[in-house]
C-alpha cells in the first residue's frame, strides 16, 4: 500500500458529490481506495483517523479539493491520473447541471434578481456555513429550510429568534422533509392533494406519515418540517408554534397531523396547548408516548405512524361530511342500537371523544348516559321480552325514533343497520320510514342529524349497497365505522370554531407554491424544477482565507 496525494486549489465541491466520486473512483482497478474531500480541519482529521493522511494535505484549505489515492503502485503519477478523472467527472456534472434548465447565481443578490418573488431558501451546505446563509435569507424576508445538520444549537436558537421577529419560518436545521403546495423541498414524496396539513419534527416520520395517508386514499395540503431539535428544552418549539399558526390560518388545511419523537415534557405541554387551540381536528403522535387518554378535545393521540395516518384520513373524511350537515339546535346525541356490541363501542368512544364519564345505571339497555347524551342497546332483555329481537323486528326502534320528536334536546341520532341472514329483510327501509316521520313532526325548526353505520356485505340478502343508497337518499349520513359515526356526531353538536393560535403568523408562505433559492445540493434544485416550482440555484463556495476582511469591507461600503 502506498499513499499519493494531490490538491486542486480553489476548487470547492459539495460533500455529497465528493462522496459519490470517492466511491466510484475506489472501484477502479488501479487503486485500492480513493478519498476525495475538501480540506477542512474536520476532514483532515478524518484522513488521519482513516489512515489516509498524507503530508501534502497539511497546506490544504477548506477551498482546496484534496485527493488521496491508496494504490499498490509507487508511481506518484497515479494521483495525476485520478485528478484528471475527477476533473472529467466534475465537468460532466456541470454539463448535466446546465441541461437542468434552472438559473444559477453566485451571490444572494443575483439570486434575488433572477427570482424576485423568492420566499424560501433551501440550504444544504455543510453545517458550519448554514447559519450565515440562513441569516442572510431571513434578513431579506425569506423563509428558510435548513437541510444541513451539525449546526450549533446556539445558532439554531438565534435564527429562530430572528425568524420570529420577522414573522418568518425556519424549518430545521436537520430538517429533511417539507412539501409546500405540492412542491417538494429536499427529501419528499409525491403525495396527492388533500385537506391534511402535516407538521413534524421528524423527517422520515413525515415521509412515512404522508405516504400512509396517500395509501389510505387521503391527501395533504402541506408538510412542514421543524428540525429534529425543535422540540428540545433549548429550542422550545420555536418553529412548531409558527408552523402550527400557519396551518391554522390556512383555509385549505382542514385537519392537522403532528408528528415528533418524544419531546421535552414542558415543550410537549406547550405544543399540546397550541394543538388544542387550533380550532381544527388534530391527530398528534409523540413517538414513544403511551397516551392513556386518546382524545383530548380536538386532539387525537396516536401511537404509531400508520395509526396517525388512518386517524388523519378519517378526520378529513368526517370534516367533509360535517361541513355539509345542517346546524342543529339540540346539542344532545342519542344512539339507538339494535346491536349490543355496537352500542357498547359507541358508548365507550362517545365518552372518550366528549371527555365525559358515563353516569348510566345500565338498566333498560342504557349503555351510556352523560350530559344529556345517551346510548341505548335495544337488544337488552327489557326490549326483547315477549318480542322478537330488534334486528328481526324493527318496530320498537321505529317507535322510539318517532318519540324523539318531542325531545328537541336531541340534535343527533346514531343508528345501526345490521344486515345478513336472520335479520329483517329491509332494515334500512324501516329506519327511513321512522326518520321521515320524526323529521315531519319536528319540522324545519328542529332539525335532526341522523348517522347510521351499516353492518353487512354486498352479498347479503339485503345487499349493503342498496340499503346504504336508500339511507343516503333519505338524508341519513353513512359512517364507515362506529368510531367515525361518533366523531361525526360530536362534530355535529359541537361544531369546530376556529381560534387564532398565539404568536406571529408567518405571512403568505402557504398561500401558493414557494419560489425557492437553493443553496447546496444541486439535486434539490433539479427536483424543484421537475416539480414545476420556481427555483434558482445559488452556487455557493466558502470565502477564501483572507478574503473575508475585504468582503466585509465591501458589504460595509454603502
Amino acid at each position: 500500500m502506498m499513499l499519493h496525494a494531490l490538491l486542486l486549489k480553489g476548487n470547492f465541491q459539495d460533500s455529497v458529490t465528493l462522496m459519490v466520486l470517492s466511491r466510484d473512483l475506489s472501484g477502479l482497478s488501479t487503486v485500492n481506495r480513493v478519498s476525495v474531500m475538501m480540506g477542512t480541519p474536520a476532514n483532515k482529521d478524518v484522513y488521519r483517523e482513516t489512515g489516509m493522511w498524507h503530508d501534502a494535505l497539511a497546506e490544504a484549505t477548506p477551498n482546496d479539493l484534496c485527493i488521496v489515492v491508496d494504490s499498490d503502485t509507487t508511481d506518484p503519477a497515479i494521483a495525476e491520473t485520478i485528478a484528471g478523472e475527477i476533473k472529467t467527472r466534475l465537468a460532466e456534472l456541470a454539463v448535466g447541471k446546465r441541461k437542468a434548465g434552472y438559473s444559477t447565481a453566485r451571490s444572494w443578490r443575483r439570486a434575488r434578481q433572477l427570482l424576485p418573488d423568492a420566499n424560501m431558501v433551501l440550504i444544504s451546505v455543510a453545517g458550519q456555513y448554514a447559519p450565515a446563509l440562513a441569516r442572510q435569507a431571513l434578513e431579506d424576508g425569506c423563509h428558510a429550510m435548513i437541510f444541513s445538520d451539525n449546526v450549533p444549537v446556539e445558532d439554531e436558537r438565534a435564527l429562530k429568534t430572528l425568524a420570529g421577529e420577522r414573522g418568518l419560518l425556519v424549518m430545521g436545521p436537520d430538517c429533511g422533509t417539507a412539501i409546500i403546495d405540492r412542491v417538494p423541498l429536499a427529501f419528499a414524496n409525491r403525495i396527492p392533494a388533500g385537506p391534511i396539513a402535516v407538521v413534524g419534527a421528524s423527517g422520515t416520520g413525515i415521509q412515512e406519515l404522508t405516504s400512509q395517508i396517500a395509501w389510505l386514499g387521503g391527501g395533504i395540503t402541506h408538510a412542514l418540517g421543524l428540525g429534529g431539535r425543535d422540540l428540545s428544552e433549548t429550542i422550545g418549539g420555536a418553529s412548531a408554534a409558527p408552523a402550527l399558526a400557519l396551518v391554522a390560518a390556512d383555509p385549505r388545511s382542514r385537519v392537522v397531523a403532528f408528528v415528533s419523537k418524544q419531546p421535552a415534557a414542558a415543550v410537549k405541554d406547550k405544543v399540546m396547548a397550541i394543538l388544542q387551540g387550533l380550532g381544527k381536528p388534530v391527530v398528534a403522535l409523540f413517538l414513544g408516548d403511551r397516551p392513556t387518554r386518546r382524545v383530548v378535545g380536538n386532539v387525537h393521540l396516536a401511537r404509531s405512524l400508520d395509526e396517525a395516518a388512518s386517524i388523519a384520513v378519517d378526520l378529513a373524511a368526517i370534516d367533509v361530511q360535517a361541513s355539509q350537515l345542517p346546524d342543529v339546535s339540540g346539542t344532545a346525541i342519542c344512539g339507538l342500537y339494535t346491536g349490543g356490541t355496537l352500542a357498547s363501542e359507541a358508548s365507550f368512544l362517545l365518552g372518550e371523544v366528549l371527555d365525559l364519564t358515563d353516569q348510566a345505571t345500565h338498566t333498560e339497555g342504557r349503555m351510556f348516559d352523560a350530559a344529556g347524551h345517551r346510548i341505548i342497546d335495544l337488544g337488552d332483555d327489557i326490549y326483547t321480552r315477549g318480542r322478537p329481537h330488534p334486528m328481526i323486528d324493527p318496530f320498537a326502534r321505529g317507535e322510539m325514533i318517532r318519540d324523539l320528536a318531542a325531545d328537541t334536546s336531541i340534535g343527533v341520532l346514531l343508528l345501526d343497520v345490521v344486515l345478513g341472514f336472520g335479520s329483517h329483510s329491509d332494515p334500512a327501509g324501516e329506519v327511513v320510514k321512522a326518520v321521515q316521520d320524526l323529521r315531519a313532526t319536528r319540522g324545519e325548526a328542529a332539525p335532526v342529524v341522523v348517522i347510521a353505520t351499516v353492518t353487512g356485505t354486498n352479498e347479503d340478502p339485503q345487499d349493503r349497497a342498496s340499503q346504504t343508497a336508500m339511507l343516503e337518499a333519505a338524508g341519513i349520513e353513512i359512517a364507515g365505522s362506529v368510531r367515525a359515526a361518533v366523531l361525526l356526531a360530536a362534530r355535529a353538536v359541537k361544531g369546530q370554531t376556529a381560534q387564532a393560535a398565539g404568536g406571529v403568523t408567518p405571512a403568505g408562505l402557504l398561500a401558493q407554491a414557494p419560489a425557492v433559492i437553493n443553496i447546496g445540493l444541486t439535486g434539490f434544485a433539479q427536483d424543484l424544477k421537475a416539480a414545476g416550482a420556481k427555483v434558482v440555484h445559488l452556487e455557493w463556495t466558502p470565502v477564501a482565507e483572507g478574503a473575508d476582511k475585504f468582503r466585509q469591507l465591501a458589504a460595509s461600503l454603502q
Binding site: 438559473s103 444559477t104 478574503a547 469591507l553 465591501a554 454603502q558
Partner: protein
C-alpha cells in the same frame, strides 16, 4: 460629497454612461491632437505606467517599430539604444484621452480615430487597426509592418478623414454598435459585423474622395478584409463613455481596466486618476498551429476598456461565433459567462440589447464592491501575443484581472469616504 450613498453615486455614474453619445468624427495624426506626442521623442503605451526595462516583448517590439516609423532610428539596434538610454518619453494612453490595443504604442505621425461625445463634449483617441499577421501592436516591427504603417499614415488616415468630413457630424457609433451586437459582435474578439457596417456607411464617401482611384480602392479593400478594424473604434468609443462617467468623481464603478504586460491597472469613479495595480495573469486560449501556451505573453493592452463598459467578455453571449475560439466550450458556456458577469455589473445597457440573451441589455457598471464580495473578476476576451518581440499574435483566449486590484481600490475608497465623512 455630492451623493449621500455609494449607490446614489453609482447611479449618477450609470446615468452619465447612458447619456454619452460618442461619434466618430475624424482621423488625424496623433501628434496634431495629443499634446504629449507633439514634443520630442514621445510614445504612448498601453496599461498603467511602465518603464522600458519592465516592458514585455510585444511592447518593446512596438517601441522599436515606432522609432523606425518616426525616423528616430535607422535600425532596430539604434532604436533599442535610444529606448534603453532613456531618450524616449513614455506615458500611458489612458492619461492622454487615448487607448491602444496590445502594446498600445502610438507616436505623433500615426493616424488616430477621433471619437467625440456629442453629449458631454469629451474626445477619445485610438490608433487604427493594422489587421492580422505581423503587426506592430503585437510587437512585430520590421518590413511589412513599416510599409503598412506608412500606408496608413499616407493613405488610409487622410482618406478616412476626408470621407468622414463629408458627413454632417460623423458617425453615430452607438447606433452602429447596437446594430452590430444583434449581428453577433461583442466588440473585443469579434467586430466583423461592425467593421462591415462601417464600410457600408463610408463606402460612398470614400469613393467620393479626391486623389487617385488606386488609393481609394486600397482603402476599400483594406476596410473590407480587416475583420477587427472596428475594435479600435469600439475601444475609443468605450474610453469616451467611461471618461464621461469618471467625471462624476464618486462611486465604486470601474472606469478603466488595462494591462501593460507586467501589471493590470484599474481606475475607479470615486478615486480619480489613481491606478490600482497588481501583476497581470497570462491569457489562456487557443493557439495558432506551431504555438502553445508556453509562447503566450502575459496579459497586455488597453482593449479591456471594452469590458470596462460591459461588452467584450461580459457580452460573450452576444458572439456565439467566437466562443469556442475563446476557450469557452460552446453556447452554454458563453451564457454561463455572461450570467456570471451579471453578478458584478450593477445595471444593463439598453443601447446594446443582445438577442441571444433574450434581449437583455449588455452589462453596465462594473462595481468593485461586487467583485470583492463575490470573488468574481471580469472575463476579458483577448488576443495573445508571442512573448518575444517581432513575432506577433499567436492565439486568442480569455484572461481575468487579479483580484488584488479591486481589493486595493476598495480599501482606498473606504479610506477616502471615511476622510470625507
Amino acid at each position: 460629497m455630492t451623493y449621500a450613498t455609494l449607490n446614489d453615486a453609482n447611479q449618477a455614474v450609470i446615468a452619465e454612461l447612458r447619456k454619452a453619445r460618442p461619434r466618430l468624427v475624424d482621423v488625424k495624426p496623433a501628434g496634431s491632437c495629443i499634446p504629449f506626442l507633439a514634443e520630442g521623442m514621445s510614445l504612448l503605451h498601453a496599461g498603467p505606467p511602465i518603464a522600458w526595462e519592465d516592458m514585455t516583448g510585444p511592447m518593446k517590439g512596438a517601441v522599436l517599430g515606432a522609432c523606425l516609423f518616426e525616423g528616430w532610428a535607422g535600425t532596430a539596434k539604434e532604436a533599442e539604444t535610444l529606448a534603453s538610454g532613456g531618450k524616449i518619453r513614455f506615458a500611458p494612453c489612458h492619461d492622454n484621452s487615448a487607448v491602444g490595443p496590445m502594446g498600445g504604442i502610438t507616436s505623433a505621425h500615426m493616424p488616430v480615430l477621433v471619437v467625440k461625445n456629442a453629449e458631454h463634449g469629451n474626445v477619445a483617441y485610438c490608433n487604427l487597426n493594422e489587421g492580422i499577421g505581423k503587426v506592430m501592436r503585437f510587437g512585430a516591427f520590421e518590413g511589412e509592418v513599416q510599409t503598412r504603417l506608412a500606408w496608413m499614415r499616407d493613405v488610409l488616415g487622410p482618406v478616412m478623414s476626408e470621407a468622414l468630413s463629408h458627413l454632417e457630424d460623423g458617425l453615430d457609433l452607438t447606433a452602429m454598435m447596437a446594430q452590430a451586437v444583434t449581428m453577433g459582435d461583442e466588440f473585443h474578439q469579434r467586430n466583423i459585423a461592425a467593421s462591415a457596417l462601417l464600410l457600408r456607411a463610408l463606402a460612398a464617401e470614400i469613393v467620393g474622395c479626391g486623389g487617385d482611384d488606386a488609393k481609394r480602392r486600397e482603402v476599400l479593400a483594406f476596410l473590407g478584409r480587416t475583420d477587427q478594424f472596428f475594435l479600435n473604434i469600439a475601444m475609443a468609443y468605450c474610453k469616451c463613455v467611461m471618461d464621461a462617467g469618471a467625471k462624476v468623481g464618486e462611486g465604486s464603478i470601474v472606469t478603466a481596466m488595462t494591462r501593460n504586460g507586467k501589471d493590470f491597472g484599474i481606475r475607479v469613479s470615486g478615486l480619480g486618476d489613481r491606478w490600482f495595480t497588481a501583476p497581470v495573469n497570462t491569457p489562456v486560449g487557443l493557439f495558432f498551429t506551431g504555438y502553445s501556451q508556453d509562447d503566450a505573453n502575459p496579459d497586455i493592452g488597453d482593449s479591456a476598456i471594452t469590458e470596462t463598459l460591459g461588452i467584450g467578455g461580459a457580452a460573450m453571449i452576444a458572439a456565439p461565433g467566437v466562443t469556442r475560439f475563446l476557450g469557452a466550450g460552446g453556447f452554454n458556456d458563453a451564457l454561463e459567462i455572461s450570467e456570471e458577469m451579471r453578478e458584478i455589473y450593477i445595471e444593463t445597457n439598453s443601447s446594446f440589447q443582445i438577442p441571444t440573451w433574450d434581449f437583455q441589455g449588455a452589462c453596465l457598471g462594473l462595481d468593485i464592491r461586487r467583485v470583492v464580495e463575490t470573488g468574481i473578476t471580469p472575463v476579458i476576451n483577448t488576443g495573445i501575443a508571442h512573448r518575444k518581440p517581432g513575432i506577433g499574435q499567436v492565439g486568442a483566449g480569455t484572461v481575468r484581472p487579479p483580484l488584488a486590484c479591486f481589493e486595493q481600490a476598495l480599501e482606498a475608497l473606504a479610506a477616502a469616504r471615511s476622510r470625507s465623512a
